[in-house]
Symmetry: C2
Amino acid sequence: MRSPVPPRTLAAELAHAEPGSAIRLQGHVHRRRELAKVSFLVIRDRSGLAQVVVRPDEIDETGLPPEETVVDVVGIATANPHAPGGVELTSPVVTLLSEPAATPPVELWRPAITAGLPTLLDNAAVTWRHPAQRAKWEIAAASLQGFRATLDAAGFTEIQTPKLVASATESGANVFPVDYFGRPAFLAQSPQFYKQQLVGVFERVYEVGPVFRAEPHDTVRHLSEYVSLDVEFGFIRDHHDVLAMLRTVLAGMTDAIRAHAADALDLLQVGLPSIPEEIPTIHFAEALRRVGAPEDEPDLAPEHERLLGEWALQEFGSDVLAVEGYPMRKRPFYTHPQPDDTRWSNSFDLIFRGLELVTGGQRLHRYGDYIAALTARGESTAAYEEYLQAFAHGMPPHGGFAIGLERWVGRLLEAPNIREVTLFPRDVHRLTP
Amino acid sequence: MRSPVPPRTLAAELAHAEPGSAIRLQGHVHRRRELAKVSFLVIRDRSGLAQVVVRPDEIDETGLPPEETVVDVVGIATANPHAPGGVELTSPVVTLLSEPAATPPVELWRPAITAGLPTLLDNAAVTWRHPAQRAKWEIAAASLQGFRATLDAAGFTEIQTPKLVASATESGANVFPVDYFGRPAFLAQSPQFYKQQLVGVFERVYEVGPVFRAEPHDTVRHLSEYVSLDVEFGFIRDHHDVLAMLRTVLAGMTDAIRAHAADALDLLQVGLPSIPEEIPTIHFAEALRRVGAPEDEPDLAPEHERLLGEWALQEFGSDVLAVEGYPMRKRPFYTHPQPDDTRWSNSFDLIFRGLELVTGGQRLHRYGDYIAALTARGESTAAYEEYLQAFAHGMPPHGGFAIGLERWVGRLLEAPNIREVTLFPRDVHRLTP
């Protein structure tokens, strides 16, 4: 590598360089254009793109490096109103920092990728380099920042709980078995039990981490490993306090995207969702009537969710709609019933642009209620002994929710397939790259 | 529950309450003291402790709730210089929010826990409620905040990479097998390959997430699942740039503990480590000489690390010491050799108070170097095809490091066993709670 003087300038900073000054850029060759009288190298680094002008006499016998080659370029900052940012580099000395790169599986310099999803996914390490791909994840990363910042400000403590668990207790199905030193273990489907127990310790907790579902269905909205944004907190009145916290969190995530990923939004030409001060809420029974479903339906079908999403947008101008009161028989045993009618629950799903994004609600918090709920379902309480210990020793009324990161970004960007917004997706067919 | 007026006051806010005003506290009964003339309830919430004074005529026939019961208390703020914060609650109306709690497995109100480690771990959901236990994790949570804030400010992008992987390529040993829809899969031992590939996309990346080691040794410093703080970035000169970034990150983590967990530090009576502006560095060969080990030793033994830690403190007043140049034959194939003597590597371990905390260094970045390194080790390049694709398509000089969260907190608090600072530890014997 060359002498470290001048130090590196990022592409986005070139616009502010003094014309005539010596500048060092470092990055990938995003595009190489060789014309008869002059050639161009567009350099891509973490901040953006910069243009380098190369005259024929400045090119040695090896020619200009091919696209994706990593280079160090020292040249002169020169004003040019047609260059990105109004400044380009002239009289360059180009040094290769990698070998000349092999031709990428897709043309990364084109404004839009036209390759199909399998090509994108099979070559993820390279295709994510495309600015429009990369922008998708920048929105995900900004969302994570906003999630944590909002909860840190509200007195929450971040937790990290085990993904290796001894029993598949929460649902029993769709778990991945692990050989744990010769003993059976499972990958956690959610941090549900742990986050509840830790409400007894920290009162307000959140966790960002992978969850695992051995999901046998190959759909555009399911993954077998995804990032779950989990929240749980104590001293609530009922699930409406949980929904109010969810609203604060979603607004914080949206604000963070605006603050940290504005360029990504611009590039993708997407608008941020409208999250009203109070999330419009409809009871499950009323939701069934509204979509014309039989009143004994235990769940909402994807088509129902889509219809409800449209209705919320028309009726309330809202991209989100909470459906509360889901039937107890379809909710997990720790769900708190609706006090005035125990067929229904103090739980909700949040529908975001017609797709279920969040499940949340109030949980049981009295030991006796847990024993009764498990017994009524014919389940052994012994299997839950360690979890139940927290309740025997006093737990506040509490509740929480979980947001799927990839679903959030997918609906935000209106991506047809959740795999498009996942760095390295895992599903029933795909375990690589 | 009672009427919501007055709203809840946190224990730590009681000190600022106007004497004579009605106050509502909500929390666990931390301690119940029944004396002949007057009784006390100490209420614990997420902010701290508050004292409630109960006269005999204010106690009904059920008596005062036992410790750990969750209560709502409305009373009158009353100045008392002997109470925590100088204000206590008198004339209380106590309402139970949980059932009367079962007697905890350890007395949580005592200033120090005297129970042994198995009792602590077997009853984690309850024992973490002890203020001194809880303080340990508050330091961990503040460390995570500092880690991310430092890297966000330095232009890094947070990534989330899969924990389910198709092959046990990085080391081949100590991996957990998973049954993945009938096919073999493994739990990732580190995000190493993914974070490197994503340097080609985002240039600077970090990840906080679980890693899995089927570690058969039952020691005080090993877990089979732990939280890895991973960093990787491009356009470095060599491993000294990586070490400088590590220094910035450790300083940021230390600052965040000071900012967000000062009470926890006070309670545990521990001082923050001294992280010098430049981390003192010793070459591996010199380190062997200094501890009197044979010059062909391929690694440092725990006793060597301890001696080197003592030396760094005496010689440089530093709690950290970098040992650079570890023998290539003991480092993974992606390690960059030391240019002037390829027996050694451009990699380092960071010793923190006598224990290895971080491994890091410069990686190979040229495709040809990877092919040569794998071939020299007799390994098939086909097994690494997807990983190597990133290098074939151009990668900058890069490097990174990984910090074990539990080791960091463990050494910071000088905990004899890493399990003491892990919420729900996993090891060869322990898979629950």
